[in-house]
Amino acid sequence: MIRFTKVTKDYPRLGAALNDVSFSVAKGEFVFLTGPSGAGKSTILKLIYMEERPTDGEVRVAGLSSVTIRPRDIPKLRRKLGIVFQDFRLLEDRTAEANVAFALEVTGTPRSAIGGKVSRALTQVGLASKATSYPRELSGGEQQRVAIARALVNDPVLLIADEPTGNLDDRATRGVFQLLRDINASGTAVLMATHNLDLIRRSDYRSIELNRGKIVFDSAEAARAAIERFAE
């Protein structure tokens, strides 16, 4: 699904954001990406949806390579992904359902198919009753659910979430996290960048920890090493 091979990313003024990073995420996997601010989490996410290109190395996502992809193919990649942010990024002048429908309209989905898909996505995130509410009329947790519904409506193979619970209280955080788990259980891979160690501890999903642009811990690698040690 995702494969980073010796990826380095330098920003002209800020310097190295990632340094020789390699990892992969399998189909249907749930992976936490963690680490302090500036560790490179958001850079990894941007490289995945190809907002940025690596300075060195290769990023492969859903069969497309950062080395060979043409700019006009990037929208095709993004249609296979769902992306969620800490600040929700909803359009304030549109209702919840219009925000979700927006993702379908701009990708050329026939009008007749939009209504059904939107109401299914809103039902999936538990917001069918608030379809006609504007973002300002919704709580933070509900706004994030609308954003998740928008990310899901195109049936993505991978959901990328950048600090999706960063602006939410504990209760809303638990709700959104449970929703992401449900989405993952239905077969969609989830890559979630977070500061919230509590969430990581409470679940047994794989976590990758970054520090200063390098992977300092990968629970999958650690487990593999432990098994190897045990076998010896």
């Binding site: 949806y49 700019p71 006009r72 929208p75 095709k76 990649l77 993004r78 249609r79 992904l81 992306i83 990024r89 359009l91 002048d93 927006f102 993702a103 309209e105 701009v106 990708t107 050329g108 928008r150 195109n154």
Partner: protein, 282 residues
Amino acid sequence: MPAVRDSLFAFRRAPLLSALSITTIAFSLFAVGLFGLVVVNIRQALERVEERVEIRAFVAEKTPVEQIALAANEVAKYAEVQSVDLVTQEQALERARRELGEFKDVFEAEFLPPSLDVHLKSGFRDPATVHQVADRLKALSFVEDVRFGEEWITQLYRLRNIAGVAAVALGLAFAAVAIIIIGATIRMAVLARSREISIMRLVGATDGYIRRPFLIEGFVKGILGGALALGLTWLAIHVVSGYLSFQTVFFDQRLALVGLAAGAMMGLVGSAFSVGRHLPQV
């Protein structure tokens, strides 16, 4: 068509900004229109004067009328020639008496030479062609002299060319202003929608899809600005001709359509330029 709906939505969302940009475009096109109208009127006046461009070939006395008539038929076949009038000595005298009424008693019979009065077709009245035809007439054996007001024709054409060049130069300058203004308003529209654009990109909208509403917006603004400019020009010319009480002509249907198309093109070019420049920064 979501692109059309989006571009119309832009007008509804920022009506003041849209009205302002259409008005500014209209005023730059209005300036072009006013000058264009001056040129159209000068040209119209010149055309009326041009119709009087005439080459007069004076025929030697005692040339048989039959020979002159034969030559007149030949000359009438020249590609540049519209008509040839054969003026006999009697007719020349009569014309002189008519044109110079108060001196009519001075003219005695038979002292004016007969002539071939040659009128040229429209489009062949420039100095070079007039010269060429005059030279061919001079070459005829019985022609003694050829007159065509050389100085006058040259001046006429110089005036016409100056007006044409000034119109093109001013037109280009104001078109550039209109394009810059449209570009600036589209830039504001792009920035105002930057959040929406970034979301569009994230969910996989193509660049063409994102650009289209802005191009349509520029196109529509150009057309509306052009129509408003046309209205303003019409109003201005009516007020002017009312006050100054002289006959003016307005753009014909073809020129009015050209004006609208020019507005639309400026809108399209301005917005394409602006979107191309500012979209990657959003």
